[in-house]
């Protein structure tokens, strides 16, 4: 008897579809190739083989520019609010320890992250609008088709588009892939998609070193970099780790619809809620730990004033040599360390260490000369890649049922992060930038 390979159900399915095509071919006649619905019409353009990707990149750029620039005034408002609260505390609370806790720990640590609620919510709003309109499915299709043309197979993009908000549901969405190899590859490349947690870091650094006009573009570049890395990593994994067939690619394109304000805002709120919950728990908790380490030993730091004498400074200086070549200092080292818990904590750490006394956090970064446009860009790339946050790691453990893969993922991402950041710095230095 002949051997049937395990993909036999695919063969049977194919036979069924063939017969269906035959039947439809002889019984259904569409009217001479002209398009009859708005959806078909728009798809002629949005799925056009030349225009598809440029349009996608354009809309993507608009999305990021919107998230950054239009939310700026609101960011300023929130910053002023926290500044005010901070002064209020300093004037009315006498106990220096408590003052430090509230002002530096809570307001500095947590507040500095909450300041980014406007861009995050703006991003979520833009994402919701794009999804509700039906365009997102086209974007996924166009990207997957592009990958197919380059000889890169795999329907990675549909679950990954979810990653724009958070990598955790994207990893879980990989369950929809029947082919185990497809699923594993999708899980392993998901953390390379920029998520909303990284956005505060991008907004902070990009805003500080690139200024309003260019910041949106810098952020767009980082997201694009993420997509490129996803494509390359997927290729790498497929060739080396998971050789094998891919499942046939069927994607359902919903009809287009005019997105309505109510449902877009609702979706925005649903995603935003998760961020706020995370802020109130994980980010808050870690920020307090960072604060604690920054004001102890209490005497040595003269009541939290001399951060350079604190435990956290000691930790930072220990790590500093690793990052010196990139032009980053000890504060950045420590921010990256705590950022492993959740990427937003990178911002929170800066908030604690630099305080909210004068101006904004962004101004402080620039004033202290901590970043140049080149080192800032390399830093953003590093944050994009360097390690999956705790939540993502936990999800990978669950979904792959092993500790081997998450460990591999961590090593892979750290190595890749150093590589890419190094490349950026290297190329930049060659071009004469500092």
């Amino acid at each position: 008897m002949s051997e049937f390979s395990e993909d036999l159900s695919v063969v049977l399915a194919q036979k069924r579809y063939e017969r269906i095509s035959e039947i439809i071919g002889s019984t259904v006649k569409k009217d001479g190739g002209s398009v009859r619905t708005y959806t078909d019409m728009l798809d002629r353009v949005f799925l056009n083989k030349y225009l598809g990707i440029p349009i996608f990149l354009t809309l993507l750029w608009v999305m990021f520019q919107f998230s950054f620039t239009v939310s700026e005034p609101f960011v300023v408002l929130v910053e002023k609010l926290f500044e005010f609260l901070s002064h209020l505390v300093e004037q009315n609370v006498t106990d220096p320890y408590l003052t430090s806790f509230i002002s530096t720990g809570v307001i500095g640590g947590l507040g500095s992250v909450l300041v980014f609620v406007p861009p995050i919510f703006a991003l979520f709003l833009a994402l919701s609008i794009l999804e509700d309109s039906g365009y997102m499915a086209r974007a996924a299709f166009v990207m997957d088709r592009f990958m197919y043309r380059l000889g890169l197979h795999g329907r990675s993009f549909i679950p990954l588009m979810i990653g724009f908000g958070c990598n955790v549901p994207a990893i879980m969405a990989a369950r929809s892939l029947d082919n185990e190899k497809d699923r594993m590859i999708t899980i392993l490349v998901s953390p390379l998609m920029s998520c909303s947690a990284r956005l505060p870091v991008y907004v902070l650094i990009a805003g500080a070193v690139f200024g309003s006009a260019q910041a949106g573009t810098a952020i767009f570049f980082i997201y694009a970099l993420g997509i490129v890395l996803v494509v390359l990593a997927a290729q790498l994994f497929r060739k080396i780790l998971f050789k094998g067939e891919q499942s046939p690619f069927v994607l359902e394109l919903p009809t287009y619809a005019m997105p309505n304000a109510k449902s877009a805002l609702l979706h925005m709120w649903m995603r935003g809620k998760m961020f706020l919950k995370k802020a109130g728990t994980i980010i808050f908790g870690t920020a307090i730990i960072v604060w604690f380490l920054s004001v102890h030993p209490w005497e040595a730091t003269a009541g939290g004033q001399l951060i350079a004498e604190s435990y956290i400074a000691w930790m930072g200086h220990a790590l500093e040599p690793v990052f010196k070549p990139f032009g980053w200092d000890w504060m950045t080292a420590v921010a990256l360390l705590f950022g492993i818990v959740a990427k937003e904590v990178v911002v929170g750490t800066y908030g604690v260490l630099l305080g909210v006394d004068e101006g904004t956090l962004g101004d402080s970064l620039v004033a202290n000369g901590m970043f140049t446009p080149l080192t800032g860009l390399a830093f953003m790339a590093f944050v994009l890649i360097y390690v999956p946050c705790f939540a993502v790691l936990a999800t990978i453990v669950r979904e792959t049922n092993s500790l081997r893969w998450p460990a591999f993922e961590v090593i892979f991402q750290v190595a890749l992060a150093f590589l890419v950041s190094g490349l950026i710095i290297g190329v930049g230095r060659m071009m004469g930038m500092s």
Partner: protein, 141 residues
């Protein structure tokens, strides 16, 4: 063969061609000529690229429009939608800049400089809307 009158199609096609060329010329002026228009200057690659993308969308539809086919309307519609997204973004940006000025974060706000010509081109494209609606009357999503 055609979905609507070829005569109307040729008119729409001409309009689309003009719009497309306007975007392309503007983009070229900024990119090649170093001309500074509004908030765009040479370093602003994405804004220039976006102009070219919109130009491409309009121009690619001219052929179909000239034949009076629905497909041509598709390019017009898409071009308009993208223009709205981009033009809308620039308008919002202007508003945000104004708010920043009020909040005291920036020193000055010059309204004329803040208006991006892409927004103006969007306004020029708006008269197409009623014409498109008439042509695609009765269409479903």
């Amino acid at each position: 063969m055609s979905d609507f009158s070829i005569e109307l199609g040729k008119k729409l096609g001409a309009y689309a061609l003009v719009l497309g060329l306007a975007h392309a010329i503007l983009g070229a002026a900024v990119f090649l000529g170093g001309v500074e228009v509004g908030t765009m200057s040479f370093g602003d690659l994405p804004r220039v690229a976006v102009l070219f993308v919109i130009a491409a969308v309009y121009i690619m539809g001219v052929g179909s429009l000239g034949k009076g086919r629905n497909e041509g309307i598709a390019f017009l519609m898409a071009g308009l939608l993208i223009s709205v997204a981009v033009g809308g973004l620039y308008l919002l940006e202007t508003g945000a800049q104004y708010m920043m000025y009020i909040l005291g974060e920036t020193d000055e706000f010059r309204i004329l400089e803040s208006i991006n010509p892409a927004t103006l081109l969007l306004v020029l494209a708006l008269p197409l809307l009623p014409m498109m609606k008439r042509v695609t009357h009765g269409m479903v999503w």
